[in-house]
Amino acid sequence: MLKQCEGSHAVAEAVALCRPEVICAYPISPQTHIVEGIGEMVKGGELKDCEFINVESEFAAMSVAIGSSATGARTYTATASQGLLYMVEAVYNASGLGLPIVMTVANRAIGAPINIWNDHSDSLSQRDCGWIQLFAETNQEALDLHIQAFKLAEEISLPVMVCMDGFILTHAYERVDMPTQEQVDAFLPPYEPRQVLDVNEPVSIGAMVGPEAFMEVRYLAHAKQMQALELIPQLAQEFKTVFGRDSGGLIRTYRTEDAETIVIAMGSVLGTIKDTVDEMREAGHKIGVLGITSFRPFPLVEVAAALKHCKRFVVLEKSLAVGIGGIVATNVRMAVTGMGLKGYTVVAGLGGRAITMKSLTGLFEKAGRDELDLVTFLDLDWKVVNKQLEREREKRRTGPAAEAMLRDIGAVAARNY
């Protein structure tokens, strides 16, 4: 059914359609509307046979999820930013134990300085935690990916993060096609756990493992993600059969056929990039787009294949590997090893900085002329940065840097949520 609704609401409804049994919630923007939505459905009796638990921290949220998932319940939670970091120990534990929890990450910057707006620092900080990470481009895809996520998680016994851009998607009202319960039921069977805390068949879960088997256990986690590389496209195909639309998969290409330059990105910024590429195509530039939906597992082969015929690639990412440059770019470079391509890293949109078509056009044109630096910070205000660097050269007690830089800009006070 077509409906116009907030991204968070679309996800809440989609999760409810998946018949979750335990949901844990702890508030953090921009994820709040999702769990609020589900909480209302549970409390109002609309979503039956589901326990909704208001926990005291994200660490507890993931821990409750671990307990319920290990007891055989389909389990969901959502978080963002500081919340994701606060639960990290349990995040690793959930994947280490092989528990198919599904979690929305409403992508948001990480402090300090505290910032509630969108970038991908939060989930990308957890790229090696053993969870599958899927990035949604639109609200429709966010909705669809959640339905696929439960199936994927439960088939391979690994937890899945569905990453959607905070505010840009979570708070945007868009038209979505909401599936029916029958459709979701046809796609997603009830959860059959591989391991479960069962009084009739007692097992010990989470025992200590020493050097004699630890490597093997860890390798198994890797092997499972490699299986997911095959399963993710299969599920997208199955999804299409039931729901009639393309959603998910590992990667998605756009106008790459004869492209000399291919721009690589994840999430909602792909929309802006595609619009920019359309305009540039009209102006005669041979440029295309590669969207990465599955960041973990990382589709090395598919990315390499998509870049096979281009001359250069530009990775535009909303994350920063401080001290080296890009996170996504580093992964892409692994995929193109030996291909002799020129590659550029562009760090953009940190902490909600707008990524405009104008900036992108200039950037891509520069890339087309191979005049781009290896690492570019899009729309960085060099004046402010240089002024601060100079200040720090000149005197010792320069005070808190972020505050001083804000003062230089003369910005109105940032709103805090």
Binding site: D49, E51, F59, G67, T71, A73, V199
Partner: protein, 338 residues
Amino acid sequence: MSALQTVKFYQTGTFTVGNRLLAPEERSVQANMQRTNSLNSGHRACQGCGEALGARYAIDAAMNATNRQLIAANATGCLEVFSTPYPETSWQIPWIHSLFGNTAAVATGIAAAIKVKQQKGQGQDVRVVAQGGDGGTTDIGFGCLSGMFERNDDVLYICYDNGGYMNTGVQRSSATPSAARTATTMPIGPEPGNPFGQGKFVPAIAMAHEIPYVATATVADLRDLENKVTHAMSIRGARYIHILVPCPLGWGTASHDTIRMARLAKETGIFPVFEAEYGEVKSALAIRRPLPVEDYLKPQKRFAHLFGKNPAVDTIARIQAQADKNIRRYGLLAKEAS
């Protein structure tokens, strides 16, 4: 017929009741051939480990009380490490170890899953026990514990208090007693050992959550411990039992003195043994023959610096004052002894 003669218990001089003198239904769970051995033999605890003893009695009692419908969540710590050097496990019941500081929350999740499954007609009424050491409970796991209490989740949380982080080599926790030597509170400097005026007594904090049931126990009175666990399992909602479990390694006591040390902790007033319901103390195990705290402190190497040629009289007096305060606060003096 003459009046019924009241039974006197002479055999040990410790007021322990021998099973032989009790009606079969009153006998201890451990005395039963059908006990579950939830924590089976073969684990790697030190000889005389109070925690292993406490856990064995507590979990078997909980198994007995729930007709073996029990799942346990376990915090990182000695109990977890010595019981599951995989592929061996001592646990005969469904058991999960997740992390050091999240056990109460994991148990909440288990209880929630069970509830939903039951609503759906897919499972039996299974109960949940969470267990951890004092570090895993009173320090790092305290947030999750308080959350579980506050929500009144249907979990019995058992803390095995050996007064320190034993698994990592005997460091100080917020349950380490004043003046005690640990690896991080060495008996040096102007205030040797663990400083006074620090630490917390989590049973009292549990009571402040107004949960249905809070109790303390020691491994000296295992029948009392079993009874408390059994009673706890007859109640729904958040419950907390804090068990004093001497640790020969961390305390520097003889393996065969574990039970004696627990008894001395109780008989000196160092460790009050009581029960509380909804935030109010309902009963306390009376001290029959009050003993000076020296009797408890002296056999322990962690307090050795208080004795010797120049006993730390003032420090011992401060510890005595703590014990006296417990005795007053929890009404621990038995009528006949006062």
